[in-house]
């Protein structure tokens, strides 16, 4: 049985897996990190997005053995140890960017990768295009887009605190 050594949210793990074990199965079933969701299992919905060596990937479409030696970040690894939320998480809360919440972990992970790759800032249109790999059946996307637009200002240090959502 292959064994996989990887770092997940900063902690090293060595886990025995089958060749066919998906990264999402390793995370959810072996490490009990169930914040990463499986919506479709067919690479469409993006509920399973995590970061592997800083890049967003669909963890339902990568084998655990392919992630051997890499550093993985899941939704559980975003908040500070004292519980302070990552600016993207905070923005999703402030802007009511979720309803049932099923897509949210993947949305947040994709959004962070998107913002990091665009240090000059993203327009509303670019944010919508950048979320092409994530589906949400509840929100209509509008508040998700607003949350990401607000979070990028904090993540790039252009604003010290998140702009409050207008009620």
């Amino acid at each position: 049985m292959p064994s996989v050594s990887l770092t997940v949210n900063g902690a090293p793990h060595t886990v025995d897996v089958e060749g066919r074990t998906l990264l999402v199965e390793l995370l959810r079933e072996k490490l009990r990190l169930t914040g990463t969701h499986v919506g479709c299992d067919t690479s469409q919905c993006g509920a399973c997005v995590v970061h592997v060596d800083g890049e967003s990937v669909k963890s339902c479409t990568i084998l655990a053995v392919q992630a051997d030696g890499s550093s993985v970040t899941t939704i559980e690894g975003l908040a500070a140890p004292d519980g302070t939320l990552h600016p993207m998480q905070e923005a999703f809360r402030e802007y009511h960017a979720l309803q049932c919440g099923f897509c949210t972990p993947g949305m947040v992970m994709s959004a962070i990768d998107l913002v990091k790759k665009h240090p000059d800032g993203l327009s509303e249109h670019e944010i919508r295009e950048g979320l092409e790999g994530n589906l949400c059946r509840c929100t209509g996307y509008h508040n998700i887009v607003r949350a990401i637009a607000a979070a990028q200002e904090v993540m790039h240090g252009r604003s010290a605190a998140l702009a409050p959502a207008e009620v």
Partner: protein, 264 residues
């Protein structure tokens, strides 16, 4: 998905050795083979991960050619300054396929070797007159490489090593995506350069093909209007729940015009 043995060789020779077993399959980015294995469309005894092989990596300019290692991921091609300056249409194409997460994993070699009729790169390879270099030491011209739906000139166990693109004066690409699946309904790649004027169509037929009538017209007069009046024969094109053969034939003309506009 059925279980399999997993190998991650660090040299091309080692990979080819394992792939001599007809029950073994290569895996590059995995964005096609993993969904296929989940559907149990195949049951390989072993998967050979190509991501640790240095010989398959790298993007470089060699004189009048752009050479792309088969394991180059879409995201690398999309953002490579070398690709962006040599063949910007190819970088744009890489940025338009799949979604961000697919682009972070999927590879050019995987896509070309799979030759899905709805894939993007086959029309770039055919439309630029690329040469495909294999582990068997063969240099296969794009005109011979693509042999219809999911079929190529690769022998069993033979791997793509790199793809050599002659650098064109101009090249452009346009496609219509299925609004739900985002796969290509019809795409057209056009180029003018050392290989002459080439027009390649993907998504519309069972495999990528050239459009000789448009090539001749563009060779005489390179302008979007030149192709706007040329009709594609729908005979032999794909007709399915997403669109009839006639619709796809119509799209060939529309996308060809947009591709010439894109090329400038």
């Amino acid at each position: 998905m059925y279980d399999f043995a997993y190998h991650k060789p660090s040299t091309l020779a080692e990979a080819v050795g394992i792939l001599a077993d007809p029950e073994a399959r290569p895996i590059s980015g995995g964005q096609t083979i993993l969904p296929a294995l989940k559907h149990r469309l195949d049951r390989p005894a072993a998967l050979v991960d190509l991501s640790g092989i240095a010989e398959l990596r790298g993007i470089r300019r060699e004189g009048d050619r752009l050479v792309i290692g088969a394991m180059s991921r879409h995201r690398e091609i999309q953002t490579s300054p070398v690709v962006g300056s040599a063949i910007p249409a190819l970088a744009r194409m890489a940025g338009m396929l799949g979604d961000t997460q697919v682009r972070n994993r999927g590879t050019m070699g995987g896509s070309l070797a799979n030759n899905d009729p709805a894939a993007d790169y086959p029309s770039a390879a055919l439309g630029l007159g690329a040469t495909l270099v294999t582990s068997g030491g063969r240099q296969i011209g794009a005109d011979e490489f693509f042999q219809g739906m999911f079929s190529t000139a690769l022998e069993p166990g033979e791997l793509l090593v790199s793809i050599e693109f002659p650098i064109p004066e101009k090249a452009g690409y346009a496609k219509m995506r299925n609004p739900a699946s985002r796969y290509v309904m019809t795409g057209v790649f056009v180029s003018r350069g050392p290989m002459g004027v080439r027009v390649a169509v993907n998504g519309a037929g069972p495999g990528v093909f050239r459009q000789p009538e448009m090539e001749a017209a563009l060779a005489a007069n390179w302008s979007p209007e030149t192709v706007a009046g040329i009709r594609q024969d729908p005979d032999g094109l794909n007709g399915d729940i997403h669109g009839s053969a006639e619709y796809r034939a119509h799209l060939v003309t529309v996308m060809a015009r947009r591709a010439v506009l894109d090329a400038g």
